[in-house]
Structure formats: structure tokens, C-alpha cells
């Protein structure tokens, strides 16, 4: 289970889980789950287009991911963001349908881009993912404080001179690049499940952003590691286990939150007071 190609799988999955945990925390905090779903999913169209032109899939993914992020940012300025996201998503997928229909081997390509091929990661794919993971986490670390402020308290951020618009666009682009690059490995759909479930679960266990990010990464790692182990033995797709385990962690967090609300009333009250201050 830990030999040869499987070692690459473990490494790739670990990096992907770290990216997903960090990006997912901010996506959940900012209420941008829809964008987190739409961008990697729509970027798959770029991969199909690149395949059609004979280019490296990475370029297609990058172009479509950034275009999607910019489109959501531009349209979202004048309309509601969920409408802008929905329209960008269907536009990109519509173009993807066109590209895929031109391709001759559409079925296999579509399946692997949507659900990933985590059990066949070559060493040549590994290096870009390592580099990309490091860069995206470093960028988030660099803009950590203003991004956190702009996400949690947009009005105060504006008053302090932090441009919420610029923060939003920067975050969307970083998230777009980070999540879309992993599409060939884990697939567009799996990446989404790995981002939202763990991050949402982490937020019900702790209120401190630093701890929540660490916990979110931890839960994402646990999800993907358990998923790989079970998937290796059962031969069922990893995406299924990741989706189910992530949802399980979320429900665990919800249950924990409910327990705390009912039995730990004094602490809850003091926490509310802290937020109000």
C-alpha cells in the first residue's frame, strides 16, 4: 500500500489536502462555497480545450480558472454573487461541452477530469503540485491578516483602508489556481468535497482562525488518508469515500456544536460577549 506509485499517491493527496484545508477555511468563512465548486468544475472545460489543441492540460486549467475567477469578480460587482457564479459556471461548462464533443475520447477524459486519477500519479506531475501547493499557501500566509479581516468584518476592513474588493479578487484567483491545478490528480468534484466539509467541521470545534485552519487541514488529511486506504482495499472510487467521510466530519461538528449549545451555556454566553466586543 505504500510502495512505488502508491507513494506518489500519498504525497499528492497530502499536498492536495493541505491546499484544500487552507482554501476551504476562507471559502467557508467568506460564504463562497459556490465559487469553490464552480471554478474547479468550470476549469475542466479548459482542460478539454487544451487537450483538443494538443497543449498541456495545465495551461487550459489555469486560463479557465483565472478567467472564471475574474468573471465572477466582474459580474458579481453589479449583480448578486451567486447569480454571477452560476452564470460563469454554466458558461464554462457549456464551452466545455462544445470542446468535449469535438474530442473523440470524451468519455474517459470527462470521467478522469471530474473524478481524478489519484492512483496513477507520476513523478512528473508531483513536482508542479508540490511547487504550487507551497506557493499558494505562502500567498495566503502573506495576505493572511488583511484577508481575514476583509472576510470576517468587511465594513471594518473598508474603514481601515483594506480594499475588500481587491482582497476578494486576489483570494478568488489564488483559490482558482490552487484548486484547478489539482484537477488532473483528484478531479474537480473531489476537490470541492475536500474543501467544504473539513473547513465547515473545523469551524464548529474552534472559534480561533489559526486553530480552525490547522484543524481544517487536519480533518482534510484524515479524510483523504482514510479514503485512500479504504479505496485501495475495496477498489471503490476515492471520490465516494472522500465525499462521505467529509460529510461525516461535518455532521460530527454539527453534533458537537449542538451538544455545546445545550450543555455549555455559560461558555457560549461568554463567547458571544467576546464576539460583540
Amino acid at each position: 500500500m505504500f510502495s512505488g506509485l502508491m507513494l506518489n499517491t500519498w504525497i499528492a493527496a497530502t499536498i492536495v489536502a493541505v491546499i484544500a484545508g487552507v482554501m476551504g477555511f476562507f471559502a467557508v468563512l467568506r460564504g463562497q462555497s459556490f465559487a469553490a465548486h464552480a471554478i474547479p468544475n468550470g476549469a475542466f472545460a479548459g482542460a478539454a480545450g487544451a487537450g483538443l489543441l494538443g497543449l498541456n492540460v495545465i495551461w487550459g486549467l489555469a486560463v479557465f480558472a483565472v478567467a472564471g475567477a475574474l468573471g465572477i469578480g466582474a459580474l458579481g460587482r453589479r449583480a448578486r454573487q451567486d447569480v454571477a457564479t452560476a452564470l460563469m459556471l454554466v458558461l464554462m461548462l457549456g464551452i466545455g461541452a462544445l470542446f468535449v464533443s469535438f474530442s473523440t475520447e470524451y468519455a474517459e477524459v470527462t470521467y478522469s477530469l471530474l473524478f481524478g486519477e489519484v492512483f496513477g500519479v507520476g513523478s512528473n506531475v508531483l513536482l508542479p503540485i508540490v511547487a504550487l501547493g507551497a506557493v499558494s499557501v505562502a500567498v495566503i500566509a502573506l495576505m493572511y491578516r488583511p484577508l481575514l479581516l476583509a472576510s470576517a468584518l468587511p465594513e471594518i476592513a473598508d474603514a481601515r483602508g483594506v480594499s475588500t474588493r481587491r482582497m476578494e479578487l486576489s483570494f478568488l484567483i489564488v483559490m482558482a489556481l490552487a484548486t484547478s491545478m489539482t484537477v488532473p490528480v483528484v478531479g474537480a468534484l473531489l476537490m470541492f468535497a475536500l474543501m467544504i466539509g473539513p473547513a465547515a467541521a473545523a469551524r464548529s470545534f474552534t472559534k480561533r482562525p489559526g486553530q480552525a485552519i490547522a484543524l481544517s487541514v487536519g480533518i482534510a488529511l484524515a479524510t483523504v488518508w482514510i479514503g485512500i486506504a479504504v479505496s485501495y482495499h475495496t477498489n471503490w472510487p476515492l471520490g465516494f469515500f472522500v465525499g462521505v467521510i467529509a460529510a461525516g466530519f461535518f455532521l460530527l461538528g454539527q453534533g458537537w456544536g449542538a451538544v455545546r449549545r445545550h450543555w455549555w451555556v455559560p461558555r457560549q454566553a461568554s463567547a458571544v460577549g467576546a464576539v460583540a466586543v
Binding site: 454573487q81 452564470l87 473524478f115 465547515a200 465516494f240
Partner: protein, 311 residues
Amino acid sequence: MGHFFSYIVEPGLLSSGPVRTALLVGTVVAVTSGVVGVLTVIRGQSFAGHSLADVATTGGAGAFLAGLNQFWGFLIAGVAGAAIMELIGVQRRRGRDVATGVVLGAALGGAALFLYLGTQTSSTTGASFTILFGSMFVISPDTVPALIASGVVALAVIAVLSRVLLLTSLSPELAAARGVPVRAVGIAYLVALAVAVSLSAVVIGAVLSTALLIGPAATSLRVAKRPSRAMLAAALIGTAATWLGILLAYDSYYWPPAGHGWPVSFFVVALVVVGYLLSYVRRPRRDRRARVAGQAQEEAPTQEAGACSPA
């Protein structure tokens, strides 16, 4: 008419029967999606609308695997998905986004499993393509009455509840003060949304389902002054986009690359998005009511952004 339709799609491949079915069902879907979509856009639940399409598609894949009627798989999964979203926190505005995301993530995992099992038991490798993009021409005629009936049910729920729904959408506090059961109304709406979306997902696939739900509604809300007119306009825009899309897809058989039609979903999506962008060209805002509707459309993001303080 029969002759006309036989030219739209390659004769011989499909007789005029299935095409007529496709156009009929496509119209039902466009009208239902347009009407339900106006409320979806006003309530800011595009994400739920899109997710339910994917959830319903997973149910369809499961039903296919189990050898059951796919339409019922779509419908049951869609309504069940809506119920779970509601249970784990759609009622709180801040939890809605995450609840939707978690249900979607789990459903996508299920889709991965069903597709995998599907490829193990039969040779339907095209399933992952169909699951996203659907196919308008694979509807069996005996499901058409059920399709139309479910569309009518969704429209009836919206018609009966439309005033209350608008009130709870625009001002939940006012509605609650007036004694409206806000949560029950929300659940009824979500079920209507699930029915409408499952209906469109089974006919035209998850991508087009979202396009027809959100695109025409967002466009019409920018130009129409009243919600009722916006619903009418959205239904018309959706129907026009569907019909034009089918026509263009037929014409595209003569476009490069030769001998290969372009997909219907591409044309419908492109028409819907172009229509939306055109609505920016001129935006009449003379009427006060339009302004109220427009404000409601723009207010919610700030409310949702405010949802970020720790729970």
C-alpha cells in the same frame, strides 16, 4: 409540422416523435425553471438550485444502476437533498451556503460511486458525460406525463404561495410579524425548487438545468418591473433559448468540423448568457417597485458577508 421537425434532427436517426417530445418537454422545463428561477434569484439560492440538479442526477444514476425508472430516482433524490439541506441549516442564512456545499459534496461522492459501479456492470462509459450535460432526446415517451405533472405541481406550489413567498423572501422579519410561517413556506419553496430542478436535470442535464433556472430569471429581473411579469418574461426567454438552441444545434451539422453537430447545451447556455449580458445595455429603473426588487437583489450579499463572525 412533422416535416419541419424531421429536418431539425437527422431524419432516420430520430423520427419526428422523439423530437416533438423533446420540444414539448423542453418547453415545460423552460417555463417551470423560469418561474421558479425568479424566486430562486430573489431568495439568493442559486447555489441550492445548482446543487439540487447534481444531487438529483446522482439519484438518477443510482436508479439506473438499480434498474428502476430514472425519473423517480431524480425526483426522490432531489426532494431528499432539499430536505437534508433544510435540516442541517438552510434556515439560517449563514449556514445555508455550507449546508448546500456539504450535501453537494456527499452527492458528488455518490455519483462517483454509481458511475464506477455502472462501468463495472455495463459498458456505459458515456455516463459521466450524460450526467453533466444530459441528453434531450433520450426521454422515453411514457415518462412524459409524469414530467409534465411534476412541472405543474411545482408551478402550482409557486402560484399558491407566490405572495407569501415574495414577502418572506424580501422581508422575513415582516412576514414573521404578520404571522406567516416563514420556515414552512421556505420548505414548500425548496420542495418546489427540487421538483423543478429534478425535472430539468433529467431532461437536459445538470448544466442546462442551472442555466435555464438562473439565466432567464436574472435577466428578466433586470428588466421587468413586477415579479409576476419577471416570471412571465423568464419563461419566455427560457423557451426561446431552448428552441433556438435546438435549431442552431441542427444547423451546426454543416459547420466545421464537418459532419459533427455542436451540442445543444452549448447553444442554450451561450444564448442565455448573452441575453443576460444584453440586459446590462439598458436598464430601466423608473418604477419604484423595480427599484425595490433590484435592491432586494443586491442587499443579500452584505447580509451574507456579515455571516462571517464566528458562530
